[in-house]
Amino acid sequence: MKRILIIDDSATILLSMEGVLAKAGYAIDKASSGEQALTMLNDGLRPDLIITDLYMGAMTGTDLIRLARQVTGLRFTPMLMVTTESQQDKRIDAKTAGATGWLVKPVAPAALLQVVRQVLPER
């Protein structure tokens, strides 16, 4: 079973995405901040996919992706940014940091699952 780490400071988003992805058969880990997610990754969590919000307090999703890419075993792990932000410069920042893709909220369940299956093709 593929494991997905979701990071968002909104409990609503965490529950919503967990509901959609868990129903599709994925194992879900959740974090409410970039710092918490980075701690989980440094403690050994190795998800098959990371989905993160952009604005989450001190550490942004772009910061998290940049730091997570330096964690052993996560160099090629797909990392998606899911945010309300749509500005092109923010997208470029995320891409430079190592993001795999950019999704603008709200993301329809079918679209979310399609993207997840696209970046996890071996499932």
Partner: protein, 409 residues
């Protein structure tokens, strides 16, 4: 333009406005404009002066020009927590000080309003997040119940179990039906065997009848011999008298033998008739009744089997319907769970508004500082435009036409 120059211009504007107001009143008075009273005239003058002051202050605080390329906006100083009563300089006219104090109080009244807006926005965020979380949890609860039902229907093979149970029942019913048929056949064989045995009895009876006929023939011949012996004994005279007695006894025995043979024959006939009657009454009719009853049982079993098949078919339809309806309900629930994301977007918009109100509060504090400096006759620094400040705050939903909702790099 420097602040000092601006202030000078503002005071010139103020003075000009006051002069214009006085001239207007004087001209109206001299021109015969029917003013109600001198008090009304004074109120009008005061209003005009206040208007002039307001225009002067507004011109002083009018939005700054856009920053020139290469310039950096000044960092925001921290806003005072409370409005302090300005220590107005005695060099500033008292009317100006009063006007500035009044405007300061007006500006200060916005602070609790902005704070209330921020508190309300935070409360709305918390309430909607709590409600959205509750909705998602309830939807997930419903979804889990449906999933459990579908999983039960799919993995527990309840339909197959019922079918297997019914198949076993049908096997039992078939077994019973075969037992009944075997019983009927066995009963038929018993009847046939009984008939064969009766035929054996009839054959034995027929042989006995022949033997009886032989006995009767022998009795008649013996009687004839006894008659001849009687005749011959009569011819012999006295010497034959004893022989005549023997001949008479033989004749009597022959008649008794014949009579006994006749009675035996009649008894055999009665016996045959009785046996035939038993076969008819006790076997055939009884077997017929049993066959009828067994047929009734067999029909009942057949009807039971058909009912079970109808039950299986109905149950299969029900299960398919439940499965289809469950799938139909599960999809909208998933859509609803996904659509709750609107709460996060609303939250970010409200947080953005609260941030802008924070900026406005800080800006009001700066205006108050400037007014205080103004009342003291001090230098008033140029302020950054509020719109410029709020434009740097986080944009909640800034998706532009043409922006991709999903983009894979």
């Amino acid at each position: 333009m420097t602040s000092a120059r601006t202030a000078a211009l503002d005071w010139r504007s103020c003075a000009g406005a006051c002069v214009v107001a006085l001239i207007a009143v004087l001209a109206a008075w001299l021109g015969g404009v029917p003013l109600v009273s001198s008090t009304a005239a004074l109120i009008l003058v005061a209003t005009m002066i206040a208007t002039g002051l307001t225009i002067a202050i507004l011109r002083h605080f009018e939005p700054a020009r856009p920053p020139q390329p290469g310039t950096v906006a000044k960092p925001l100083p921290s806003a005072p927590s409370l409005i302090e009563t300005p220590n107005y300089s005695s060099e500033v006219p008292s009317q100006t000080r009063d006007g500035l104090a009044m405007l300061g109080r007006q500006i200060d009244s916005y602070r609790p309003l902005f704070n209330k807006v921020k508190v309300e926005a935070t409360a709305i965020n918390e309430e909607t997040e709590t409600a959205a979380t509750g909705i998602i949890l309830r939807l997930q609860s419903v979804d889990h119940a449906i999933s459990d039902l579908l999983e039960f229907l799919a993995s527990s093979n309840s339909n197959d179990k019922v079918i297997a149970l019914i198949e076993r029942t049908e096997a039992h019913l078939d077994s019973n039906r075969r037992l009944i048929n075997d019983f009927v056949i066995r009963r038929g064989n018993d009847i046939e065997e009984s008939r064969v045995r009766f035929q054996d009895i009839e054959e034995v009876t027929a042989r006995l009848a022949k033997t009886i006929g032989t006995i009767r023939t022998i009795a008649r011949q013996t009687n004839m011999l006894a008659l001849n012996a009687t005749i011959e004994s009569a011819r012999a005279g006295d010497a034959g008298k004893g022989f005549a007695v023997v001949a008479g006894e033989v004749k009597l025995l022959a008649r008794q033998s014949d009579k006994a043979a006749v009675e035996i024959s009649r008894g055999l006939d009665s016996l045959c008739q009785a046996i035939a009657a038993s076969v008819d009454l006790l076997i055939e009719k009884r077997i017929e009744r049993e066959r009828s009853e067994l047929d009734t049982i067999s029909d009942a079993i057949g009807e039971l089997t058909e009912n079970i098949e109808r039950l299986v078919s109905h149950q299969r339809d029900v299960l398919e319907k439940v499965h289809g309806e469950s799938e139909r309900i599960a999809q909208p629930i998933l859509q609803l769970i996904g659509s709750i994301q609107f709460q996060d977007i609303t939250r970010q918009r409200l947080e953005s508004l609260a941030g802008e109100f924070d900026q406005a509060t800080i800006h009001l504090g700066l205006i108050e500082d400037s007014m205080s400096d103004l009342s003291k006759g001090n230098h008033v620094p140029e302020l950054t435009n509020l719109i410029t400040l709020t434009a740097t705050s986080r944009s909640p939903v800034s998706r532009q036409p043409g922006d991709l909702a999903i983009e894979l790099f």
